[in-house]
Symmetry: C2
Subunit: 217 residues, 2 copies
Amino acid sequence: MNSFTEENYLKAIFKLIEQSGDTVTTNAIAEKIKTKAASVTDMLKKLADKKLIHYQKYQGVSLTKKGEKVALMIIRKHRLWEMFLVEHLDFKWDEVHDIAEQLEHINSDKLIEQIDKFLNHPKVDPHGDPIPNSNGKLQIQKSYPLSKLKKNDSCIMTGVVDHSPSFLQYLDRSGITLGNEIKIKDLIEFDRSLQITVNKRTLFISNDVAKNILVIT
Amino acid sequence: MNSFTEENYLKAIFKLIEQSGDTVTTNAIAEKIKTKAASVTDMLKKLADKKLIHYQKYQGVSLTKKGEKVALMIIRKHRLWEMFLVEHLDFKWDEVHDIAEQLEHINSDKLIEQIDKFLNHPKVDPHGDPIPNSNGKLQIQKSYPLSKLKKNDSCIMTGVVDHSPSFLQYLDRSGITLGNEIKIKDLIEFDRSLQITVNKRTLFISNDVAKNILVIT
DNA sequence: AAATATTTTTAGACTAATCTAAAAAAAAAT
DNA sequence: ATTTTTTTTTAGATTAGTCTAAAAATATTT
């Protein structure tokens, strides 16, 4: 089996590849894991020995099929646990991340399959992120930042880019929730802020906020 | 906070004191944790530094109030998780121990209080062991091994001594379940085995089995 | 294309938890 | 009251993961 730490490295590498599309640098991993580049290099050697990553000195890393499978299973567990916490234990979407970071390392195939069944095989987690299935298949729905839309466009909110509690709490206070219809009333040229309507309420949001709200049209 | 390993030592010490009533020896801990005496000595120094145990070289150990509290919270989490697994995720009582050994180290006060609420504040776990409350109070119900009873005595099964999957599975196959009424039909002097009636079925059990079934009269 | 800056790796040290082997203390046997 | 046995502790190594500082490789600038 893989250690807690190895699992966290694989997950970090997976997510970095997911957003950049390219191989991942030592420094990028160090920053993500909040450790030093030297530590990352050590771990990369170990993961390469275990055939979990493709690694050549100075050339960046990518995941092997095996490494990707491990990463996807960690992400599956993380997102299913988040779903469980929100749906059944009365947690808010901004409270579940740290607990799921711990729970994702619990090692039991039966446990995670039973949780999945208990939750009725959800497709997305409380933040709208897709949940990989038990074979590690990830169904990606393509979505766009709200900031890309034009005046009078309408869309449905499907996710967030920033997952920080403070951003999620801001959305709560603004009454912006997953599944809401959002209509762009106006685009303010001066600072690229938006006037939108959600839940029959009209409000202004900054371009920075709009960039972190994912929608489908 | 305390490490995973420290928590396991405290739990082991608590359980050894619980069954012997006395201070605990280095060797006893080593055997329980499945490690070597030298490793135990090292850890005892560390736990003593943290004021979690009373320890003087060669004199055995006991828990401080603080150490006992930590041990009881780990046991609380273990038993609540076992209950959750059995009651809501369709696990059998012989399957939950190893998973609960992992889950008991998840660190979140809110999580465990929500699980407790979700389960409706159960008093005992799936094996009949009492669940400490959130203040670390443990309600012990006194029970006796079935082997202590006399011919024609009746009793209710409330727990087990041996928690091994093979023993629990044996009880399942014999149709002996927590809460069942058990009546002693006969005591066979030769090998101290017992003829009992449970669920309207009559069967023979060895004295060894009877010693591991806890009952109240 | 050389000089400079940045990134990555290596070397060597540190911590937590473990181990084996030897020494010291306590308990049991004579 | 010695001697012997058992238990416990110490001393010194080992492993996983981390770190700092220095060296090597790559990338950027001029």
